[in-house]
Subunit: 337 residues, 2 copies
């Protein structure tokens, strides 16, 4: 398989995932449209199995493993959503799974990963390399490493989100002018870009990152792989990869993707708006694309804009804070108070 | 039209609603199934337009009005979800709407009803009759009264929830042994019972009410129309009708529906569980069926049980409290702590 998946790889992934992952709804809130003066469509991947889109790529990768690899088991490193996706897919397919997670990952994500039956190995995000720990475990026990984004099967799996968005837009007669996608390593955004452009070649795709962790934004601007200087310090725990991938960056560039960044406060506000207007629970990293649309990083007025709400495995205290503080969206000002 | 809608009325309603309401997902959380030892399917009507199933009945009723009635306008009385459903349907169809709401309705519901463009008339739940205010307005201005539940068109519209549940169960190869439905006046439950029994005649339907407002539970036990003594005092503001309807009660009896009741605390816990495991925001009244399944009012163990999550227009402070206090579901004990 060519490093960059083709549309046909994503289409085959969709067939492979049937009955394993679910078609998530493309939500729309008329009152939110009124406030924004445009049409905002929200792809609710928080409603995907395991609470994020990551189950798609995990299933697509695991389903293509030779039986002897399935028998030996898989290993993955992840801040939490890829962890749950791989753990759940592995359990569903009877494959042993070891997941390497940072010690400061949200307790909910660690607990869920264990509950799906995986062995969890914790590491220190500041001093240890998750890549090295994962590689060592793979070598020592003959495990297959399931990378979080720089794997064509994983990218193809995540790309099924884009196939669904395209199909759902067609069903309601909507032409998405912009699609905003939360970005860590770029697996979701690159898969979505390929799938969306097959149906809507004129759609502009944007990655959205937390401020201070905007390596993809800078990489897409400079044309080369930029890295983040910080390794922690955002509430968007799901979006803190050091850099986009060797496979994903060329795809994002080829698909002419550009980047936006939002503050942690804006992500938190978007979580509150999502709860009030859309009735979905998002985690901070899953809310950055919605935040970008709500807070003027990209104007929605007179446009049709799709945002991907990529995950909902947030810490309960943050979700409660978001709802308490940011349930009101001031009409006609595009501003939450 | 016969007072009790037939299956064909519900099927026609489904055609009428196409493009106006949305197909809501039937959600499932593997970790919740693990805890309960069975299969729990959650019909997420909080994701319906206006945040509750009420948009269905409202559209089905308004779409069948003669043009001269549409021109004069409609009136409805409601604690908040029927209010929003009628206001939204009316706006979509260009019909003026006046909504009579209790002064102590959740501010969110009053604000949304106004935001959908309706004229809102407030009344005192303890001292005034909403039925009389509604009838007076109807007589004075020639408005058509859209009843919240005792109307065959409204019942048929709500019944489309049941058609969708039956179809969605068939698609995943599930046979629902029990379907639990939140109940105020019985419009949703009676419509769902007719629709589900057409596909699954052996399924037991249950209405679920808040303790102290269990008029339907008692009416189904006694065989005659029982009323509630209290008019306020539950956080389940959506489920406080005095009694089930003259049309709905005979349907519920014919369909052999039985009743369950849950405490306010159990509803609040269910809201927390819904946020953590299902990533949806429910209001207390929308969470009673889930609460009944979670807290042993009906055992889920080794069964396939569908619960309807009927609405998500909860007060933000209650939603935040539910998430803060009840995000943990103790494994293997079927108990939230």
């Amino acid at each position: 398989m060519n490093p960059a998946p083709a549309l046909s790889d994503i289409q085959q992934a969709a067939k492979r995932l049937a009955g394993k992952t679910v078609l998530t709804p493309l939500l729309e809130a008329p009152l939110l449209n009124d406030v924004l003066g445009g049409r905002l469509l929200v792809k609710a991947e928080c409603l995907q199995r395991t609470g994020s889109f990551k189950a798609r790529g995990a299933f697509n990768a695991l389903l293509q493993l030779p039986q002897e690899c399935k028998n030996r088991g898989v290993v993955a490193f992840s801040s939490g959503n890829h962890a749950q996706g791989v753990a759940y897919a592995a359990r569903s397919l009877g494959v042993p799974a070891t997941i390497v997670m940072p010690r400061d990952a949200p307790p909910l994500k660690i607990a869920n990963t264990k509950a799906y039956g995986a062995s969890v190995v914790l590491y220190d995000r500041e001093t240890e390399s998750r890549e090295k720990i994962g590689a060592d475990l793979a070598n020592k026990h003959g495990l297959t490493l399931i990378r979080p984004f720089d794997d064509p099967h994983v990218i193809a799996g995540q790309g099924t989100v884009g196939l669904e968005i395209a199909q759902q837009c067609k069903e309601i007669g909507a032409v998405p002018e912009h699609v905003l996608v939360p970005c860590s390593g770029g697996g979701l955004a690159s898969g979505i870009a390929i799938a969306i452009h097959a149906s809507f070649p004129g759609t502009q795709i944007h990655v959205v990152e937390p401020e201070g962790f905007d390596d993809a934004v800078r990489s897409l601007a400079s044309g080369r792989r930029e890295t983040n200087t910080k390794k922690s310090g955002s509430i968007c725990d799901a979006l803190m990869a050091d850099a986009v991938g060797d496979i994903t960056l060329p795809i994002l560039r080829k698909e002419r993707v550009t980047g936006l960044a939002v503050s942690d406060e804006e992500s938190l506000k978007a979580m509150g708006v999502a709860a009030r207007y859309l009735k979905i629970m998002l985690e901070p990293g899953g809310a950055v694309a919605l935040a970008a649309a709500l807070f003027g990083k990209l104007a929605v007025k007179n446009r049709t804009v799709v945002v991907v709400a990529s995950g909902g495995n947030g810490a309960p205290f943050l979700q409660a804070e978001a709802i308490s503080r940011f349930s009101e969206l001031k009409l006609n000002r595009g501003e939450v108070s």
